[in-house]
């Protein structure tokens, strides 16, 4: 009766707030709000205070360390609610009920007390109210209690037999996808879930379309073969694809790449490709490899490519330049800091070898070794990663022939090296011989580099590599 009166009063107040029917306006409004809240709560579900259960060893206080839920979240029985810590012991508190979290009684790092309320959970009114909510939970819950609580009614639909099967296998019903009517969880769903967990061979569950409406709890589910005989199976079944799109934010190295490549877009690229006969270089490297090994250095082809590039840049310095933002000035860089693209776990990084113009092939090899080991350990510093003036990308170690590399600003040129293939070629006498062929793809900034310059540089670089002895003449 009392509630009725408040309700009718409140509706009036809502529409015309000025018409207060009591002397103490503020008091009525305050109590009205309170009662209104409780009235509406009763119609939704009962709020139960879930108390912090006994930790053991006579502990009475713990520190709240992490919340796994927030107000408004829905939880199922056995879902983790929070993590508390007491004297070197970390305790996961799980929910006793299905419902919605209405209040968290502690904030992070606050002291929580055993036996006092931890969270308020609103239990769905239509499912009935659990009667033991004010008793401190005594862990662990006994077998009978499990079944008792489960049968009481939950958000997840499943028969008692299915629930028992789930409980025996320590499976949370909330984690199982139900394929029955109204997303009901069937025995086959539990078996499927287990099969995924254990990778064991279990009888395959029938496809969603031919699942009967409700399995009877007392019968053993028939083997799928039998079922197939009873129900006519269409020849081609539509494949049910249950994959979902996944969206994640762009972070870390990818974010950096987005930035660099977007800046590179402003550069008008042109490409120039060629093929290099490395037969002589391959032989030379075989001869020099053991010598380098005695000095503790692993000798690849890259040091040769890098040194040859530097010799080429001495003749065509515009390829080692930088164009300013406003395209008013070109800076010819004195140092040849040649970058080497590296593929690491995190993605693409480009450390550079500094001052190649004054380094020997051996010194370049040594430096490359250092950069490679730092790169694979993820320990390259900013000094190694910045200040590059020209870049070579040896994508051929992964595969491919021709490529279309993207210039790394503020540089103006880049070369991508394909893999070395053994191919038939004609020599000077018109005979076919086995040649070690590698393709190179250059990209350059067409605002300051023209095709002829790129071509001449490439020819010079090619001549050094095809006839390594010629490098000796120009080595500084």
């Amino acid at each position: 009766v009392c509630i009725h009166r408040v309700r009718s009063c409140s509706s009036i107040h809502f529409i015309k707030p000025k018409h207060a029917c009591v002397f103490d306006k503020s008091a009525l409004q305050f109590s009205r709000h309170q009662r209104l809240f409780r009235a509406s709560a009763a119609s939704r579900g009962q709020i139960v205070q879930f108390k912090l259960s006994d930790i053991g060893e006579g502990i009475t206080e713990v520190t709240m360390k992490e919340w796994y839920v927030k107000e408004g979240d829905s939880v199922s029985q056995f879902d983790s609610i929070c993590e508390v810590q007491s004297d070197k012991a970390s305790v996961t508190i799980t929910s006793r009920y299905d419902g919605i979290i209405r209040k968290l009684h502690y904030s992070l790092d606050e002291i929580a007390y055993v036996g006092k309320p931890l969270v308020d959970i609103e239990i769905d009114a239509s499912k009935g109210v659990a009667s033991e909510e004010d008793i401190v939970e005594t862990p662990p819950m006994s077998h009978e209690e499990h079944t008792h609580q489960e049968i009481k009614g939950h958000k997840t639909l499943a028969t008692p037999a299915v629930r028992r099967l789930a409980m025996e296998n320590n499976i949370k019903l909330s984690e199982v996808v139900g394929t029955g009517k109204d997303n009901r969880i069937l025995k086959e769903d539990i078996l499927n879930y287990l099969a995924k967990q254990t990778g064991a061979i279990l009888p395959p569950s029938p496809k969603a379309e031919i699942v009967p409406p409700l399995p009877k709890p007392d019968t053993v589910p028939p083997a799928p073969k039998d079922r197939a005989h009873k129900i006519p199976v269409p020849v081609s079944r539509p494949v049910v694809f249950s994959g979902k799109d996944r969206t994640e934010p762009v972070t870390g190295f990818h974010k950096a790449m987005v930035k660099t490549m977007s800046a590179a877009l402003k550069i008008p690229h042109f490409g120039y490709c060629d093929e290099i006969d490395l037969t002589q270089l391959v032989q030379l490297r075989e001869e020099l490899k053991p010598l380098a090994q005695t000095r503790g250095v692993k000798l690849s082809f890259m040091p040769f490519f890098i040194k040859a590039a530097s010799l080429g840049l001495l003749q065509y310095p515009i390829l080692n330049a930088s164009l300013d933002e406003s395209c008013q000035n070109v800076t010819y860089k004195a140092s040849h800091n040649i970058g080497v693209a590296m593929d690491t776990e995190q993605g693409l990084i480009v450390p550079n070898v500094k001052n190649v113009q004054v380094c020997s092939v051996f010194e370049i090899a040594l430096e490359l070794n250092r950069l490679q080991s730092l790169g694979s350990a993820g320990q390259l510093g900013t000094n190694d990663l910045s200040g590059g003036t020209f870049t070579l990308s040896n994508i051929g170690t992964v595969g491919g022939t021709y490529a279309k590399p993207v210039i790394l600003p503020p540089e103006v040129a880049i070369g991508a090296l394909g893999k070395i293939q053994v191919l038939p070629r004609f020599n000077g006498k018109g005979e076919v011989f086995k040649a070690q062929i590698m393709n190179v793809s250059w990209s350059a900034d067409h605002r300051i580099i023209d095709g002829a310059t790129m071509a001449r540089f490439s020819n010079l670089w090619k001549s050094y590599l095809e006839n390594p002895a010629s490098m000796l003449l120009d080595l500084k």
Partner: protein, 373 residues
């Protein structure tokens, strides 16, 4: 006498898992002693998680024996920057792991043994477990002066810590694990467990530093194997089970289904670093540049291991202000990690062209920023 069984016996573990209602039908009624064949800290921690999540320990208990190659293990709610020298760890290739139990930071290497006692939550009793260990030690080497303190440490000669304890309690099961120093590298231990990071303010659980000693120093005849055998024997005797150690391979999915995803999770950045409770860094450092000394003040708020708020105070005009604000803006939201800072720094320097002078100043600032991480 200890008989070590092969992996075939691990299938019994499988049976124990599956027929949870039936309980156990193996001969090791009431208990099981298992030893890991792996020295990988993540794999071994994953085994603990697996047993905690999947085994029904009603009327049963498990003792898990394991050793790790060099690793630092921090407690569930700790701050790795506060607890250890991350730079040194990276240099020496020492792994960093965060366990799920509480407590403080420890250093593991092959000279340290780890023991985990699994029981139901009701039977969780740390003191009993530690007293068992002490009893085993005294049986092995009667002259040893070892005892258990109120803080669940084991002390040697009343002053040196040889064992630290931590525990994890779940809904139905609980575990208590502890370390035991046999002949670990004390030099590495003390250098990695010393944090060089200044100006950190956090509510994370702090570790209580202690002087340590190896049992080997007291009794040179002792080895890790001897300790493991002695403790297994005492455990078997006390709980009336077969003294038989079953070897377990933490990489075997057939015996431990789902273990590899647990191992992977323990290695993710989000778990190891991202679970650090919110903390702030407020520090000054000096940079020496071309004969002059510059004061730089840095203030950072780090949440979930990522920089939430960043403030860098530099001498005026030492670097273009636009670049500085870009740096601060780019660092916000990034992982508090030197690799990420390097990426940010190099990208910015390539996108905004700098002359040599500015470039070296930029590099100097970024190198110093990375030292904080």
């Amino acid at each position: 006498m200890v008989i070590q069984s092969s992996l075939k016996n691990c299938l019994q573990l499988c049976c124990i898992l599956r027929t949870s209602k039936a309980g156990f039908r193996s001969t090791t009624s009431g208990g099981l002693i298992i030893e890991s064949i792996s020295n990988d800290v993540y794999q071994n921690l994953a085994v603990e998680d697996w047993i905690h999540d999947h085994m029904n320990l009603e009327n049963k208990r498990v003792l898990f024996l394991w050793r790790n190659s060099p690793a630092v293990v921090i407690g569930r709610h700790q701050n790795p920057w506060q607890e250890c020298n991350l730079r040194l760890l990276r240099q020496k290739n020492i792994k960093l792991a965060r366990r799920r139990s509480g407590g403080g930071t420890v250093y593991h290497d092959l000279g340290n043994i780890n023991l985990t006692f699994f029981t139901t939550r009701k039977k969780y009793e740390r003191m009993e477990n530690l007293k068992l260990v002490v009893k085993a030690l005294k049986a092995l080497s009667p002259k040893l002066d070892v005892h258990v303190t109120e803080r669940y440490d084991i002390l040697l000669d009343r002053q040196y810590k040889i064992s630290g304890t931590a525990a994890k309690l779940g809904r139905t099961t609980a575990y208590h694990h502890c370390t035991l120093l046999c002949n670990a590298d004390k030099f590495v231990l003390s250098s990695v467990l010393k944090s060089p990071y200044e100006g950190l303010k956090s509510n994370a659980t702090p570790s209580v530093p202690a002087s340590v000693k190896n049992l080997f120093e007291e009794d040179p005849s002792l080895t890790c194997e001897m300790l493991l055998d002695a403790i297994a024997e005492e455990y078997a005797k006390q709980h009336q089970i077969d003294n038989r150690i079953t070897l377990i391979n933490p990489a075997d999915e057939t015996v431990l289904p789902g273990i590899s995803s647990k191992t992977k999770e323990l290695q993710t950045w989000d778990w190891v670093y991202g679970k650090t409770p919110k903390f702030s860094v407020s520090t000054c450092f000096n940079m020496v540049y071309k004969g002059s000394v510059l004061d730089v003040k840095v203030d950072l708020d780090v949440k979930h291991g990522r920089i939430e708020v960043c403030n860098i105070d530099l001498p005026e005009q030492w670097l273009p202000p636009a670049l500085c604000s870009e740096l601060v803006k780019s660092l916000t939201g990034r992982k508090f990690c030197p690799k990420e800072t390097t990426t940010v720094a190099t990208t910015l320097s390539s996108v905004c062209p700098l002359d040599n002078e500015l470039h070296s100043r930029w590099n100097l600032l970024c190198e110093n920023m990375m030292m904080l991480m």
